[in-house]
């Protein structure tokens, strides 16, 4: 019954899918009734606050909580001692959630308090005495790799080398991808360019700080209500950290105020649960903005060398990249994905990408939308752009000449399935934007990008209500409007109007396991599962119709939401609509529901080409974005408005990353800009409209051809904007962000 990728035919004509239906869950969000992480309260609730280390690197010799516990209104004070043994795969999370022997970065949690009021909790925090022994620190990725750098984890030995070294190091692991003979390839080139690029750490920038309300009982049973990209992941990690059964903890996903990968892990949820257990009260913990910036999961800062050889006719003969990513105080940066994605847009005979995962005294990184890929694309697409300029070749033509296409061998190994890179490049070449004239100090930049996209474990249940309406329960938190697209796919498959389907996010006690909402997987995987669940229900409804008509079920077909005899010789029977069958469900066997629990494989990759015009003020180095156009392959755009929204949101995060956003650490290793004033994300007046062109090259791995689109849109902008600024300023920019002082310096004006 489930869709067989590659075997079952793709549906091509649709009634609901592809239309811009109004959003079914929007009313609460425009009236202020929608409840996000911090909006939940409970009777007898205490306020939880976390004490964080002010040092970049320090040994914790002792923590005295006695005077804090004496404060009136305080019901619980916890430290690392309140987190017992746990499975190996959550050891790093346990240490990041609450420091153990050492405080590893500025903002690392060291203790927490729960009290009847925020004022009492604040007062108690001040009375916790921590005896720190400050240690030397390192925050820069290249510095951290030097043998002379202070060792952060004495038990860390570099993996991925031929021989495991004896001495501990800040280099956690080495990765390598590629094929062919790079040295030979470079020799065949007419021009070889090698450059080093640096990018600073950036934050996902979601407007809603992390927040949760936990209520934990000493009987090992509890509830937690939190904003997260994966409440099943929260259950899995928190139950492991607290040593309770997964079934003991019910996690409800609140509305989520943005995540972009930063809420695919836990920071405060285990703390709230531990406080609640100790205080025997519900406890609410809400991060401040400065806590979010200091102590949640920004992406890596990087240092990348790229060398590419190209012939006069534009053929790329070889590509070689070395990528160094620091992922905070714990291993696990996204450097492997950066190394894999770096040359993914190019069909190369000789390619190599070597990645180093490095630790430093910074917060533990978390995924940030296509984690690792934007920085790698920035480096590769910048060198390709420079080669095109030197050889006087059109950047789109060169990319078309070398573009990966169906069946070509990807730089990270496997052969590609059906892919849409060429389609996006051709759409870009044909677009009026590419032909408009530029003025003084103006430049145009193009760049391509890619993301793998992900299927993952997905459970959906679909209930047919007695009045013929549909209750659809999915387990993937909806950040960008996926309830609308998933509901529309179920309505399309069932043949009922879209507003007859109500799609909700079920809690962990009401639905089978679901992987986190990440990897641009939700519209693909929950959509696929919803279609399968609809087909499951249709099968059952056909059985009921067959029973009512007294004919075999094989003689019943389902069209436009109605069961019909498949041919005249099955006898004359009035068609039965879904509503008719639903009304008789009780009498004909019981409630009707469809289910699908799968590991949704067959996710199709999504490619994009971005084009951007900028103007550089030669006197101040200020960069103005004049025009921005995104061309991205969505396979099949289920709800075009929200597909465009992903294109526009990713592009603008890329603009912030390219121009102004950066983590600034002082010499003392503390974060200097932990707030939205000096961590500058783009504001409305900084930007033009972002034009979105949806390209549709269907993905054979999905019944409707759907591809995930959420992440690819952030991969090309860093390079596209840098290429545009480099041509406007007449000098190659090799550092992000391209803040005005850096541009002015590159122009040689200061």
């Amino acid at each position: 019954m489930n869709f067989q990728p590659g075997k079952d035919a793709l549906k091509r004509n649709f009634k609901i899918v592809g239309t811009r239906t109004p959003r079914p869950d929007g009313l609460d969000k425009i009236t202020g009734r929608a409840r996000f992480g911090a909006d939940m309260t409970a009777p007898g609730m205490l306020w939880g606050l976390i004490l964080r280390s002010p040092h970049a690197h320090a040994r914790i010799k002792s923590i005295d909580t006695s005077s804090a516990e004496a404060v009136n209104g305080v019901h619980a004070v916890i430290t690392a001692k309140d987190f017992g043994p746990c499975p190996e795969d959550v050891l790093d999370i346990r240490e990041n959630v609450m420091a153990r022997e050492k405080a590893l970065y500025d903002g690392h949690a060291v203790a927490a308090v729960a009290a009847t009021s925020r004022a009492a909790a604040k007062q108690a925090l001040k009375l916790i005495k921590v005896d720190y022994e400050v240690l030397p620190h390192v925050t820069d990725v290249d510095e951290a790799m030097k043998p002379s750098a202070p060792i952060i984890n004495s038990k860390l030995f570099t993996k991925g080398l031929d021989k495991t070294p004896k001495k501990p190091s800040n280099i956690a692991e080495r990765f390598e991808f590629g094929h062919g003979d790079v040295e030979a390839g470079l020799k065949q080139a007419d021009l070889v360019i090698e450059r080093t690029f640096r990018t600073e750490a950036t934050h996902q920038g979601y407007i809603e700080p992390h927040a949760c309300l936990a209520s934990m009982g000493s009987d090992g049973r509890g509830d937690i209500w939190c904003c997260t990209q994966g409440h099943f992941m929260v259950r899995q990690v928190c139950s492991a950290l607290l040593g309770i059964d997964a079934s003991g903890l019910r996690v409800t996903a609140s509305e989520i105020g943005g995540g972009f990968g930063g809420k695919t892990t836990v920071f405060i949820e285990p703390v709230a649960l531990a406080l609640s257990l100790k205080a025997n009260h519900p406890v609410k913990v809400v991060m401040s903005r400065s806590e979010v910036l200091r102590a949640s999961g920004p992406t890596s800062s990087t240092s990348i060398d790229v060398k590419i050889g190209m012939k006069k006719d534009g053929t790329i003969t070889a590509g070689d990249a070395t990528l160094r990513y620091q992922g905070g105080a714990f291993p696990g940066s996204a450097v492997p994905y950066g190394a894999m994605a770096a040359f993914a847009c190019y069909d190369l005979k000789a390619v190599r990408a070597v990645g180093y995962d490095v630790i430093a005294n910074r917060p533990k990184q978390a995924a940030y939308r296509a984690p690792g890929a934007p920085m790698a694309a920035y480096a590769v697409e910048s060198v390709v752009d420079e080669l095109c300029k030197e050889l006087r070749l059109d950047p789109l033509d060169v990319r078309l000449k070398n573009a990966s296409s169906d069946g070509s061998k990807a730089s990270y190994g496997p052969n590609f399935d059906v892919i849409g890179l060429r389609a996006t490049l051709e759409a870009a070449k044909a677009h009026p934007h590419y032909k408009t004239k530029l003025g003084a100090n103006q430049g145009r930049g193009v760049a391509c990008g890619f993301w793998f996209n992900f299927g993952g474990e997905t459970s959906v249940s679909l209930n047919v209500n007695a009045d013929g309406t549909i209750g659809l329960s999915v387990g993937t938190p909806d950040i960008g409007g996926s309830r609308a697209s998933i509901g529309n796919m179920a309505a399309e498959e069932l043949g009922v109007p879209h507003d007859k389907v109500r799609c909700i996010i079920a809690d962990t006690a009401s639905l089978g396991y679901n992987d986190v909402t990440d990897g641009s997987r939700v519209t693909f995987a929950s959509g696929l599962a919803a279609i399968n669940a609809a087909r499951d229900a249709i099968g059952k409804m056909c059985e009921r119709a067959a029973g009512i008509w007294g004919i075999p079920v094989e003689a019943v077909t389902w069209e436009d939401g109605t069961a019909r005899p498949s041919s005249p010789n099955a006898g004359k029977h009035d068609p039965l609509t879904l509503a008719d069958i639903a009304a008789q469900a009780g009498a004909t066997g019981g409630p009707i529901a469809g289910h699908c629990e799968i590991n949704a494989e067959g996710a199709g990759v999504s490619f994009a080409t971005h084009m951007v015009d900028t103007e550089v003020d030669p006197d101040t180095g200020y960069v103005k974005i004049l025009r921005y156009t995104v061309f991205q392959d969505a396979g099949k755009a289920v709800h075009p408005s929200y597909v465009e929204g992903q294109f526009q949101g990713g592009a603008v995060q890329g603009i912030g990353w390219a121009l102004n956003e950066e983590y600034i650490y002082g010499k003392d290793g503390t974060l200097q800009n932990a707030g939205f004033l000096d961590y500058r994300i783009p504001v409305a007046s900084d930007l033009p409209m972002i034009d979105a062109v949806i390209v549709e090259v269907p993905n054979p791995g999905h019944p409707y051809g759907v591809r995930g689109v959420g992440e690819t849109s952030i991969v090309p902008p860093l390079a596209a904007i840098s290429n545009s600024v480099s041509s406007a300023a007449g000098v190659r920019m090799t550092q992000l962000p391209m803040s005005p002082p850096k541009v002015l310096k590159a122009l040689g004006r200061i």
Partner: protein, 172 residues
């Protein structure tokens, strides 16, 4: 720490509350009055998610003390619709998919309402500069600006056709 007794008007309702001297209006709205529509994104006036209108003036409720609300007229997102009659901006935000996660939406709707009360025919640039105090990370602002411009165009139409249009759309 004795508390301050404040009497004010919120969305037309006379409201009494007591609060600490250093408690912000945002904390009062959310934690004492259960009006969680205004959101805290930063607590320092840098994101606009807590925007409310006080005596006709668009402000950040996190940069105002609860005590300062004495005798004021406060408008929050909860009061933007008139019963089931949505404000045209609210409907347009849905029609234009001008929200994704929605946490910044209350702040944007209040700010846009304040703009259209002052300027019924704003240019794109005027909309962008007026709304620059409201951060959004999901949408890239494009559809938000289009929704505000489209609402302004609709609201400039003669009253008769507007009423019918508003009624029809709510059912859609």
């Amino acid at each position: 720490m004795f508390q301050i007794q404040v009497s004010t008007s919120i969305n037309g309702d006379d409201t009494e509350f007591s609060c600490e001297a250093d408690e912000t209006l945002l904390d009062v709205l959310r934690d004492r009055l259960g009006m969680t529509g205004s959101k805290e994104g930063c607590g320092t006036g840098d994101c606009g998610a807590c925007s409310v209108i006080v005596d006709g003036r668009l402000v950040c409720s996190c940069l105002m003390l609860g005590a300062e609300a004495q005798g004021c007229e406060i408008e929050t997102i909860e009061g933007m619709a008139d019963g089931t009659e949505l404000h045209p901006l609210q409907q347009k935000f849905l029609d234009h998919a001008a929200l994704q996660c929605g946490v910044c939406t209350p702040g944007f709707l209040i700010a846009a309402k304040s703009l259209l009360e002052r300027n019924d025919d704003p240019t794109e640039e005027e909309v962008r500069y007026w709304l620059a105090g409201n951060l959004c990370r999901c949408t890239g602002y494009d559809k938000i600006v289009r929704a505000v411009l489209d609402t302004a165009k609709d609201m400039r139409k003669p009253a008769k056709t507007k009423k019918a249009a508003a009624k029809k759309r709510v059912k859609a």
